[in-house]
């Protein structure tokens, strides 16, 4: 299945306000993405990684997430998802600039989102290593009998090849845990196309082997995404067990500022995919559908730009972590290996 083009607004019960929030999230993602790359080109930060092409998928999924209840186990491509569940542009910028106030204290690369108060689990750069953590978190919810809570766990298509992915999905299924495995299938893993990642290209079809429901959806459509993720989360929240979801999208940018995608894919491929740019398309749909006017859209863009500028300036003005911060939080308290 290639990503379909949505032709008319099917709002699936979403209010104008919710639809605008979806759009605002998508705009903010793109703006912050651009900012990271800009700052990198300006030599202000050594590294940036963008999520262009994942905006609709992540905005839709975030809308299905219940703040203050659900747990999110994201991966580095999840800017929009993390914004959607409550991280602020300022927090994003602190991490891009590696400033002291960053959740990770400037220790991790940017895009390693984490916030205990928002229920965003901390993860490392080791692909798939967070999937068992998500399952453990779901176990805790089930163990405590907390109906109405679930874990949303994301990863890329390439990450499903890791053994830890298999082990975790299998365990979740055995215990019917409240967790939704959402694969953001952008068809690439750095330079490795899906065809070199697996022999048959439909990840959702693995669900049957684990005895859980699986579903593929158009991740360029935030509303369809919302509906699919909500259905799966609701099932999880009410004791119905895990689901494997596959959201089809595309990675418009190179993997990161360290990558040159023109070494392994053609400009034409990217241009072709860009024709279905989910942000532009959703904008058009909302305007056609009367949810907002062209002027509203312009105002939102300006607002998002202002937010981004403000976040950038405030974050850049913050101090770096101090050298002695290197020694904190190895253990609780001060432990040396030789006591």
């Amino acid at each position: 299945m290639s990503v379909k083009t949505t032709t008319a607004l099917d709002r699936r019960g979403l209010s104008d306000d919710q639809l605008r929030r979806l759009f605002a999230n998508m705009l903010l993602q793109r703006q912050l993405d651009n900012r990271g790359f800009q700052l990198n080109r300006q030599g202000k930060v050594p590294f940036a990684l963008g999520s262009e092409g994942h905006e609709a998928l992540q905005a839709g999924a975030a809308l299905a997430f219940e703040r203050g209840k659900d747990v999110l186990a994201p991966y580095y491509r999840d800017l929009g998802l993390c914004l959607g569940v409550g991280l602020t542009p300022y927090e994003i910028m602190l991490s891009i600039f590696a400033r002291a106030g960053d959740h990770n204290g400037g220790r991790q690369f940017p895009n390693h989102y984490s916030s205990k108060s928002l229920g965003i689990l901390s993860f490392s750069s080791i692909l798939a290593a967070h999937i068992p953590h998500a399952v453990g978190a779901a176990y805790v919810i089930a163990y405590r009998g907390e109906v109405g809570r679930a874990v949303l766990c994301t990863c890329g298509d390439g990450t499903t090849s890791e053994g830890e992915w298999h082990e975790s999905v299998n365990f979740a299924s055995i215990h019917r845990l409240p967790v939704v495995f959402l694969v953001e299938n952008n068809l690439w893993a750095i330079s490795t196309p899906l065809s070199k990642q697996m022999a048959q290209p439909e990840i959702w079809k693995r669900a049957a082997g684990y005895g859980m429901p699986g579903k593929r959806f158009n991740g360029f459509d935030p509303i369809e995404t919302y509906a699919c993720v909500k259905e799966a989360l609701d099932r999880a929240r009410s004791g119905g067990g895990p689901t494997l979801l596959e959201g089809m999208c595309y990675r418009f940018l190179a993997h990161s500022t360290d990558d040159n995608d023109m070494t392994y894919r053609t400009k034409e491929e990217v241009v072709e995919r860009r024709k279905n740019d989910p942000v532009q398309r959703f904008e058009a749909l909302l305007i056609e559908g009367g949810v907002m006017t062209r002027d509203d859209a312009t105002a939102m863009k300006q607002e998002v730009l202002a937010q981004t500028n403000d976040a950038t300036d405030r974050a850049e003005a913050m101090p770096f972590p101090q050298a002695h911060d290197l020694y904190a939080n190895v253990y609780e308290g001060a432990w040396e290996p030789w006591q």
């Binding site: 991790q108 901390s122 080791i126 453990g136 163990y143 904190a328």
Partner: protein, 338 residues
């Protein structure tokens, strides 16, 4: 709470190491419902050494989890549980099977607190039986401490006596950070001892001076502590006075106890079952060579397994790989008379 003499006398019980692990786990399960156990065959089978026998009947399937055969996820799922507030005790059936979980232990558990700058923590215990002398062959006999002790963020304990097993297992369960808890399987039923009643902890990172002596300090842990003690006692008759230290904790390690002893005896012998190159003895020796070089009257000696991948199944091979009280006594004698 540390061990006190009054605890000791109150209603101490004689146990072997298996019983000490079992009793401690049982008490932890009773007293704290955040404690759960997960691993292969820990349920109806009650673990391959019967350590968790009948636990599943009393505590139920939700707290005593028979996992699929998938060590990476056993630890990884426990990490997630720990991040969300439980106190999981993950079991790796034999230490030899811990390799697939290496990423979750070293890359994840040990770094959870650090990488989140303290927002998330990982109060996790990973228990596993290790060591040889039980005809466990190439893949049921390894020592794994040296593969992990270099890793900041992790703690490692390896008690040798039942009372230490209890005190250190309690400390590990209470600990807010991940602890690798190593149980020498040859000592499981072999070693018996008094175990104080009630809840007590022994601080992680504190060695135990088992026997005082004047001519030589011997540092060891696990099964070989018992053999070192046996050898040292035998040497008393020859007029060779050996001090024996049981490390008990491998990370952190107890600098003070070792240095104090070496500064007194001026000679150091390190004994371990694991192979020599890059083993735990290397760090002990290096620390002493850095801190107490001029107190030494003899080179620092390490008596360790040969640098081969494993002991074999055949008795001859196992025997050649393992040390013995006699071999340890010989090394003591040699160094004492250096």
């Amino acid at each position: 709470m540390a061990v006190t003499t009054s605890d000791m006398t109150a209603s101490a019980q004689t146990m072997n190491n298996v019983e000490a692990v079992r009793a401690t786990l049982y008490d932890a399960l009773r007293s704290d419902d955040r404690v759960i156990i997960l691993g292969e065959d820990v349920g109806a089978r009650g673990n391959v050494f019967l350590i968790t026998k009948d636990f599943i009947d009393e505590f139920g399937e939700r707290r005593i989890i028979d996992t699929p055969i998938a060590e990476a996820s056993i630890v990884g799922i426990a990490v997630g549980m720990a991040m969300e507030g439980l106190r999981p005790i993950a079991e790796i059936q034999f230490a030899d099977f811990i390799y697939p979980a290496f990423n979750q232990i070293v890359g994840e558990a040990a770094k959870t607190r650090y990488r989140s700058n303290g927002e998330y923590t990982c109060p996790l215990v990973i228990r596993t039986p290790y060591g040889g002398g039980v005809r466990g062959a190439l893949s049921h006999s390894v020592s794994v401490e040296a593969l992990f002790y270099h890793v900041p963020g992790l703690k490692i304990v390896a008690p040798a006596f039942p009372a230490d097993v209890k005190g250190l297992l309690n400390a590990s369960i209470d600990d807010p950070d991940p602890v690798l808890f190593l149980e020498h399987k040859k000592t499981y039923r072999l070693i018996k001892g008094e175990v104080p009643a009630g809840h007590y902890t022994i601080p992680i990172g504190k060695a135990n001076l088992l026997k005082e002596g004047t001519q030589l300090s011997v540092v060891s842990y696990g099964l070989y502590v018992h053999w070192a003690l046996e050898a040292a006692n035998a040497l008393d008759a020859e007029g060779i006075s050996v001090e024996v230290i049981d490390l008990r904790s491998i990370r952190p390690m107890d600098r003070g106890t070792i240095l104090q002893s070496v500064e007194k005896t001026r000679k150091l012998l390190i004994v371990h079952e694991d192979n020599k190159f890059g083993g735990v003895g290397a760090e002990i020796s290096a620390m002493v060579a850095e801190e107490a070089l001029f107190h030494l009257d003899a080179p620092i000696r390490r008596l360790c397994a040969p640098d081969v991948p494993a002991m074999g199944y055949a008795e001859t091979l196992e025997h050649e790989y393992m040390s013995s009280p006699a071999k340890i006594a010989a090394a003591m004698r040699e160094l004492a008379t250096f």
